[in-house]
Point group: C2
Chain length 219, copies 2
DNA sequence: GTCTATAAGAAGATAGAC
DNA sequence: GTCTATCTTCTTATAGAC
């Protein structure tokens, strides 16, 4: 043992090392539980049991259930942003959406959490509603910005700003919808259908047929 | 009063008239509650309170909560089918989807119920999962059938059967996704975005630009 | 057919020992 | 920082009066 129990001497410990790890474990477990059961039906007891602590311990890290939800959403957000580097500008950003879907197929948790909470957030009083609303606004705003850049750089055929917003909303609606179909029924060929739809959109935007490179599978 | 209270004579009454009305009221209320709170979070107490009866009365009409859900889903299904007459064949069926979305905008309940339960049915153990899966399969199957008919009748440009299924899945994914965006944030221009997307799909299928008639608003 | 009353259990939250 | 134990509240479901 590195630190024997000393009753009076002041020992400077590694600051909250276990606490931080525990906190991360709780957030990861809560993300899984909220993803599969939703926020309302996912219980603190389930989460505590999965982590291997008692429900009371959760309250030491997060004030209450909503506090835990906030931490889960913040964590989800940072993970989503980390996988979506800001240096991919213009049309290339949309080509990359296929990789995002491939990632989601192998890592069901993140998209399941988002779509489960989106469905629940149909209810105006849901605690995640504002977050989900803002997330959609951000995604649409950023997508529209990138598509305008692509247009101004001559990467795509001309569209007016209003059309661009409708195109972006349609693209993400289609992406969410296919992923929802796949979550409800894993038999659905998620990547196949999405690749088909994405390539059609990119062809229409650019007027070219070779924008989406063929899928390469590891041998 | 038509039937005074007779203690011994056997009076054949109108069979369960109040019971049937009550049953319908319960189903309508349960549909609203399940739509806004989901199945797990929607409680029998809420439903009973809205109807104006006690929770125990619900058990007289439906064995348990899942029985009530089954009745709600059956009712939803029959309403959805009633608004979608089978005699509209070929391409006209898809042109009509805009009317379906306009209806959903004015009657939020039906689509909210479907998408809320779809989100919950991400969980393999959800009692509505099989229904939702089957519903998607039916919609895709019927849509593909109609599009094949349209192709064979020369209404659209040629596509192979596999492409048709992907096109249908994409169309309904887009439709669900836009409606989800609108449910979460009513500021979204549901009909505008959907009309934009639908007209593009129809133009691509047919090679013509006038397939979706312009929106006429009542004066 | 509908009610009151209540059983039996599970939820979120908290007090206090260690 | 984590635990046991407990509180209050809310759920589903049922028993029995009317």
């Amino acid at each position: 043992m590195r630190h024997t129990k000393t009753s009076k001497t002041k020992v400077v410990r590694g600051p909250y090392k276990n606490g931080i790890r525990r906190r991360r474990e709780i957030i990861e477990s809560a993300s899984r539980i909220f993803a599969s059961h939703g926020y309302n039906s996912g219980t603190l007891r389930q989460i505590a049991k999965e982590v291997g602590v008692t429900p009371a311990a959760l309250a030491r890290h997060f004030d209450d259930k909503e506090g835990l939800l906030s931490a889960v959403l913040a964590n989800w957000d940072s993970q989503a942003r980390a996988r979506n580097p800001g240096d991919v500008r213009g049309l290339a950003h949309f080509v990359r959406l296929r990789d995002a879907v491939i990632y989601n197929q192998a890592n069901r948790g993140l998209i399941e959490l988002f779509l489960t909470l989106s469905g629940e957030s149909t209810n105006p009083k849901h605690p995640a509603r504002e977050f989900i609303q803002q997330r959609y606004r951000d995604v649409v705003e950023k997508g529209a910005q990138l598509l305008r850049e692509a247009r101004d750089a001559g990467e795509i055929l001309w569209m007016d700003d209003e059309t661009i917003v409708a195109e972006i909303r349609t693209l993400y609606a289609m992406m969410d919808g296919i992923q929802l179909q796949w979550l409800v029924d894993p038999e659905v060929d998620l990547v196949g259908v999405f690749s088909h739809a994405l390539s059609i959109i990119l062809e229409r935007w650019t007027g070219r047929k070779d924008v989406l490179p063929p899928l390469v599978t590891r041998t």
